[in-house]
Point group: C2
Chain length 395, copies 2
């Protein structure tokens, strides 16, 4: 059943006019620098695994790039988030505030700590946690006991709040930091999607105690699989390294572990890829910003949809370009997804709200009707930086 | 303080006579095949991450090589073991039997399931779980209730037993399988160290419900970081795949997850390395067997030590070559470790018994005095396959 206006075909025509008729991936990696050279160095040196110069280099350059004092490379973004929560002191049975709209890994990381995800409303300005609604909610449901934030309804301590910078766009970090401070919550940033994104000039992932980055294949830069923990706290950085190396006490030969640790180090092979990708990050960010400008030309004055623009005072990496359907066109979403994907134009909706997924229905959440209506409007567009690369520069 | 006989220097002289004066690593990887070619294919195709042809190829070839019906590539051996335990139905609060002498990951994987490691004695024949002692122990401490093995002392269900094939040598799999059957315990194999090792001709890791392999950099073949789950059960293989891909229900665009899953897939980049390494596995195994023969010449009739030989009916990969100190020379162990490592000859003791490490002291264990005396005798020798490669074949 098509509406008279036929939004799906309007979008298809507009995209084909701009990008031609080849299939468009949602987000493809591209390798145009020293990737192969660095991989060869790994092989030649035989250092491909849990130690090697590319791990050290990648960590140093990530710290330099983001302005974090320390960066610790790990096996993926989920692991980065789990370790961040442990470093925040989140204990079994405690609650952790996370947005209802996020990739499932945010909630899984909480559950790996045997803690309880508590889902928060988001706002349309940033697609991140709504600070105004949160302030009112916490005043209502929480109480400070012995300087700890306790959920009055469940009696459980609320240990931390995780901001997630949706599709790369920074949340309202300043407001949310201030709420975290007022309610004595440790701030953690799920910056899996937001490498290169800045809030008031400061890189996302560097505001909280820890920030978690991801370098999965669909991210702005990739290490195959990988992630990193950012922190400005030396002790936290040391504990992070200890936790991800099976909590082994360094010794030339003895195997002594002083806590339950993890095998979460990023292999040197993957870090080699990361070093080469990091060298191209600024170029990719520029290409992604150009893509935003291109989409803006397409969708400016386009009936029924609006292109999401980076929030005020923010510089976004525009990881995934985002259309928001106007209210009267929300019913068209599934037709758009079906038709565009069938034409080889990869688009996708936002994640389902986590509180509505079977494994998470028993966990606490705010009133989420506004969040649900925002979620229903979202369509992510093809966002590969290669879509606007100058072809003459291609390898 | 040196003994009159001076075992450390006797060993140093013997090793230098055979291998020369260059430093000797404990176990170095070597890359003499298609590693770089396959890595280049990854980069050229842009498939470096969670899907790609090398993952499928690696899984298929691992299954072919081991004779397992299915192999599922994962991010490391610890993850392989954790998922294996979940697939075995191990639940929070249940006990899992594991050897007291193993790498810490075996116990950590149990704890990630919120289950309780219960430490078993090992025997000198195989350095694996002692079946005779285990049978007596289980008769004493366990009872079958509603067809479940219950620890009478703790009241907890014992859900599974994990065999670990120490330094690559197969445990007494037949006896231990029969005990598992009698006591209704699911058998899982920690085959992290034993790729290429066979018991009565059958590959280790294929006897239990699942077997966990590791391809860390110190293993016989490496993927940088990586592991795999082996199983002969189609349903188990499907559930494994589901669990390691965040329990996402396959759909072209929708994000629906029906259980708490994990981000444990092996990236295509690492699988590419694995494919090239697997092609060289037989050559590496031959080199490692030749190294055993070389060591056997050195240590045959050597006073104070005995070289560990693969158990009866087994073909071992000889992952780590192992010296056992005779009782009266056990006090020399630390001098040997100190002196050889100082000379650049990397040797190491066995892991500390896990029940003696701080994070594990509260968990149940068998009487372990014999295990402790075996542990104290063990010294692992430099074991790289490259030590006996025909140099003319080198790349």
């Amino acid at each position: 059943m098509k509406s008279k206006y036929d939004l799906p075909n309007q979008i298809i025509s507009a995209l084909k006019n701009t990008f031609g008729s080849d299939p468009l991936a949602l987000h493809e990696p591209s390798f145009e620098g020293n990737e192969l050279l660095y991989l060869k160095e790994c092989i030649d040196s035989t250092f491909v695994s849990s130690s090697g110069k590319f791990i050290d280099k990648f960590e140093l350059e990530l710290a330099n790039y983001t302005g974090a004092k320390y960066a610790i490379a790990v096996v993926n973004g989920t692991a980065a988030l789990q370790i961040s929560l442990l470093l925040a002191g989140v204990k079994a049975g405690e609650e952790v505030l996370i947005p209802a709209l996020t990739f499932v890994a945010t909630a899984n990381a909480v559950l790996y700590c045997n803690a309880i995800p508590h889902f928060l409303a988001i706002e349309e300005d940033t697609l991140g946690i709504d600070p105004d609604a949160l302030r009112i909610y916490l005043k209502k449901i929480s109480v400070l006991r012995s300087n700890e934030c306790v959920n009055k309804l469940t009696g459980r301590r609320i240990g931390a709040i995780v901001l997630m910078h949706t599709f790369g766009h920074p949340s309202k970090i300043e407001d949310l930091s201030s709420i975290a401070k007022n309610f004595n919550l440790t701030l953690i940033e799920d910056a899996a999607e937001s490498i290169g994104s800045r809030y008031n000039g400061q890189h996302t992932g560097t505001f909280g105690l820890c920030g978690a980055l991801s370098f999965n294949g669909n991210k702005t830069i990739t290490t195959g699989g990988g992630g990193a923990i950012l922190t400005n706290d030396l002790e936290v950085a040391k504990r992070a390294k200890h936790l991800i190396t099976t909590a082994k006490i360094p010794h030339r030969w003895e195997f002594r572990h002083d806590m339950i640790g993890y095998n979460y180090r990023m292999p040197n092979l993957n870090a080699a890829l990361g070093c080469a990708q990091l060298e191209q990050l600024d170029k990719k960010l520029e290409a992604k910003r150009n893509l935003y400008i291109k989409y803006n030309k397409i969708f400016d004055n386009f009936k029924g949809v609006r292109l999401f623009t980076e929030p005020k005072n923010c510089k976004s990496n525009y990881w995934l370009q985002t259309l928001l359907l106007e209210d009267e066109f929300v019913t068209e979403r599934d037709d758009i997804l079906e038709n565009l994907n069938s034409m080889g134009i990869m688009v996708r909706p936002a994640w389902n709200l986590l509180n509505e997924l079977e494994p998470f229905t028993m966990f606490p959440h705010m009133e989420l009707s506004k969040t649900k209506s925002i979620q229903a409007k979202i369509i992510n567009l093809p966002s590969s930086p290669s879509l606007t690369f100058d072809k003459s520069n291609h390898a």
